[in-house]
Subunit: 86 residues, 2 copies
């Protein structure tokens, strides 16, 4: 059994409750949930005909896109740092 302490919190995303469990603080989990809620509402206002499932998939697509772009920038910064240290 893991000794790592897990936190549990209930969040509301797009009118539905979810129990989130993780090693992060509950405030971090709530912040993440509120960002997903915001993004889904934004996506819904742009595409009013989409159902919740498609809205959530497209929100996930946007989030993964943002992640991959940031990862590229992170790797550039890492390279720059390495060059400065060498």
């Amino acid at each position: 059994m893991s000794k790592e302490r897990k936190n549990r919190t209930t969040v509301d995303i797009y009118g539905q409750q979810y129990v989130i469990v993780g090693i992060e603080s509950t405030s971090h989990m709530r912040h993440v949930a509120s960002q997903v809620d915001d993004k889904m509402r934004e996506m819904s206002s742009l595409n009013p005909s989409l159902d919740t499932s498609k809205l959530a998939v497209l929100t996930a697509v946007n989030a993964v896109h943002d992640y991959l772009k940031l990862k590229e920038e992170y790797e550039l910064l890492e390279k720059e740092l390495k060059n400065l240290k060498d």
Copy 2:
């Protein structure tokens, strides 16, 4: 009207087709879609009772969490780089 050239591609995520439009290359869009598809399938194997909509929301939650953690690391790296340059 925007002069920026937009690309359009159809992707398959968790058995459903989506038309994705953006300035990114179609290969980037397909890569993002395949990551979301993988994450939804992984989430589904861990939580077989969840419906598609909840799976997609939790996938979005994980993606936003990953983004925020990477952003923290990015900001640390930026700070380190700034200190080295000063």
